[in-house]
Symmetry: C2
Subunit: 246 residues, 2 copies
DNA sequence: CCGTTCATATGTGTCGTACTCATCGCGGAG
DNA sequence: CTCCGCGATGAGTACGACACATATGAACGG
């Protein structure tokens, strides 16, 4: 009525081409990692130009369904692109502090459930991976090496996500962490400040609950971890009192 | 460690161009819905060809950050493209029963947190929307109209997600529901069978907890709702005893 | 005076061609 | 047998031209 710039009945060719390529993948029975027809072959088979095929491929690659390598060819992405969020989903730049807080809340949901499921499903090997990551994190804290701390922290949560045996939660955890890491671009970063000591202890608590096979305890421990991290973050922000420069 | 498929130090131009375009959007202070520079202008400003710019734009459009309209121009996408999951993310088809179960677990995480936050943040209008959706759902059940039931159910959970005031959780909820709806493609669907009656009651419990402003009660009610739904779903599957075809 | 129609300008969509550059595979030199 | 280089393959980049959708405003007829 007022302004409805949508629905003009028109669909760009690269859009249908993208769908056709996906259908083709299915029809050819291609498995993740398999090689796809070349751009020229696709153009010929779809009865269109290479330009359109390329734009379609870019879309699919952005969605994490296809991978293109210069000099080699196109490949079906091995990664699960269920959200269509390959390595590209990372472009949302949190512009607002609110976004960062929302991200914490989002992570809270994911971490609780992954920890909960990990407590029920973690294999001995996965449990060891969690323990090891926690160890790296603690070591990084004790030696004051922020890079090690962050690496361990990341590995810790990733290991738990893996142990949850749920690909959707895994993707969500990964995306959330990546987005959060990018918030550092606007000068905000959870450093190894005062919260690190607490974090190490909280990691231990989560690990113990998972090891003990206590789902609810694990979930609660994870929730506390996020909540405390957020609190520290809030405190740190207020101290900085920074001047935005946009 | 696990995924480092980019082992050549090489980065395609359209990839950096995509980043630059995003940075440009931020730098220009463009808001969602605003018009962007034309492809030619972008090419000139980024010092590259229109070809590269177009491919970059296709990526960003697939990610839901940019919208292109033939004959008009490029626009900053309205919002929530954070996961890059426009109408395009919907290409993952759950092939396994495991996927459906994982989806339930995933939803459990999202619904718990949205309900929890909704209990703390829902405005009167949002609360009314939740109540109304629950009413539609109940009415659909009582009159045996499956479509109404499903519509109400969807509106109910969407309304709660909205009331959570967290865009990430909103997107996650929406994606989860869409993926789950698609699982009906393989012949599985939570029908209005026996679980509907329980579902209506559980909706009521969630609503009351949110209305009462009790976060934890809301979260627990949501968890029970998902758990029960999953149980019923499992039971229904076993009854069907269908023959998988692969 | 007002609405309709048409010409024009703007800008995305599509096509073709030519070239670069990374990668792979093969064959010959050492 | 190993290593080097050469050619083949195929994605990445660039340019130019045109098709087609859309917006704007002027000309026209009522």
């Amino acid at each position: 009525m007022t302004d409805t710039p949508r629905e003009s009945g028109y669909r760009p060719g690269y859009e249908v081409a993208a769908e056709q390529v996906l259908e083709l993948i299915v029809r050819l029975g291609l498995r993740p990692g398999d090689r796809m027809p070349t751009e020229n072959e696709l153009a010929q088979q779809l009865g269109t130009s290479r330009t359109v095929v390329r734009e379609a491929v870019k879309i699919l690659s952005a969605l994490g369904r296809v991978r293109a390598q210069k000099g080699r060819g196109l490949y079906v992405a091995d990664d699960e692109g269920m959200f269509g969020t390959g390595r590209w989903g990372s472009f949302f730049l949190p512009t607002d502090l609110d976004h960062v807080y929302m991200l914490f809340e989002f992570r809270r949901a994911q971490e609780m459930e992954t920890s909960r499921l990990a407590a029920r499903r973690a294999t001995p090997a996965e449990l060891r991976a969690v323990e090891e990551a926690a160890g790296v994190c603690r070591h990084g804290f004790e030696t004051g090496r922020e890079d090690l701390f962050n690496e361990g922290d990341d590995a810790f949560h990733t290991a738990i996500a893996t142990a949850s045996h749920n690909m959707f939660l895994q993707v969500a955890v990964r995306e959330a962490r990546r987005l959060q890491a990018q918030s550092s671009l606007i000068g905000l970063r959870g450093s190894v400040g005062g919260h690190a000591a607490k974090a190490v202890e909280e990691h231990e608590a989560i690990y113990q609950a998972i090891r003990a096979g206590d789902p609810e305890a694990a979930a609660q421990a994870a929730a506390r971890h996020i909540d405390n991290t957020l609190d520290d973050y809030r405190r740190e922000i207020q101290q900085r009192l920074f001047f935005s420069s946009h």
